[in-house]
């Protein structure tokens, strides 16, 4: 029929995120970044329209996530990945280096999106500098 259509829940999540002053990103059920809001651009260094949809793990790696002890933070311990893999909400404080080269201590809360109990459609992650 069509080119792929975003699930309505993702459309609503994007709209929700686009109206927040809290940095937020939205990933789809294939673990691809499908949107981040204007507030997140300060961390990313460019608008979402310039980034486009990308695989999330490799995109996140560019921010060098690491623990309080400056050890690399493995993907499976990151809140977004936990929300995606384990289908549960997750929260963590850790360090990143944002696109402007500034080291930031951030907190991230991520939660899975279920359109129905058996229909996982993506993840929303909110984050802010501590």
């Amino acid at each position: 029929m069509t080119p792929p259509q975003k699930h309505l829940v993702l459309i609503l999540a994007r709209e929700f995120a686009s109206n927040l002053s809290t940095p937020a990103l939205v990933a789809d059920a294939r673990w691809r970044l499908v949107y981040y809001n204007e507030a997140a651009e300060a961390y990313v260094g460019k608008r979402f329209a310039e980034t486009g949809e990308v695989a999330l793990d490799e995109w996140l790696a560019s921010f060098e996530p690491r623990t309080a002890g400056q050890e690399p933070l493995p993907p499976e311990r990151r809140p977004g990945r936990i929300a995606f893999d384990e289908r549960r909400a997750s929260h963590l404080r850790f360090h990143i280096t944002s696109a402007d080269g500034v080291e930031r201590d951030i907190e991230v809360t991520a939660f899975p999106l279920f359109a129905h109990t058996d229909e996982f459609v993506g993840v929303v992650a909110l984050f802010w500098t501590v």
Binding site: M1, Q5, K6, L8, I11, E15, H116, T117
Partner: protein
Amino acid sequence: MALRLKIWGCRGSVPAPGADTVTYGGNTSCVEVMLEDEEALVFDAGTGIRALGADLVRRGARQINLFLTHLHLDHLEGLRFFAPLWNPAVKLEIWGPRSPVLSLRERILRGFSPPLFPLDFRDVPAQVTFHDLPGEPWRRDGLTLFTDLVLHPGPTLGFRIESGDAVLAYVPDHEPALAGIEDRTLDWLSAGAIARGADYLLHDSQYLEDEYPTKIGWGHSSVADAVAYSRAVGAERLVLFHHEPERSDQGLESLLSRARELADGDEPPVLAREGMEIELG
């Protein structure tokens, strides 16, 4: 195969009978896609379905597929007075949206029992089956029907019916402006896949532009948003649907004038009207 449809009700929210609405009609949403033989394909069960039911009895329809966009009363209240429901020889398949926690059947049965109605659904003699949507495309006699969730309060569907090259999109209750229209690519546009390139798009246009600001979030579109949406999805012709119950025939014609002004250069929109028949392909 040509696609023929008939509008049995196009009023929004609540029936609006009376001298002021005789031209465009006061019955709530119901559209029939006309099939051959004893089969019928019906969209929504607003009060327009009562007259359709009488007609189907006259035509001897025995196999009826009823597709519900959602369960707000103006799309469901006619079901209880749909004559084929009371005929044990009729097979009625009802398709519609489940909620995040309840099946379509459970949701309909809540409204089809006391104190909202004197009878329980188990008293219905027709052979009724329920099907949750969205699901796989539905096919019959060269016709394919696609469904997807659309922006409207509560689980709500839009329908796309394809027959050969003919495409009809039925999205009667829809507020795409809540998630943006002009600045969105088709895949991020609510019901974009349903309405894309439709020959006829039956779309919500309940409000005038100056009425909409106090109704944001109610699930319906202004005439300007309906025109913008039709243009964004590349629909050939917009059929203005889900008329505001307070709007008289004269008021609807003013709304139509505004729609045509906004659609400058596009195919002029038309007003849905009870009894209107459209043939595609």
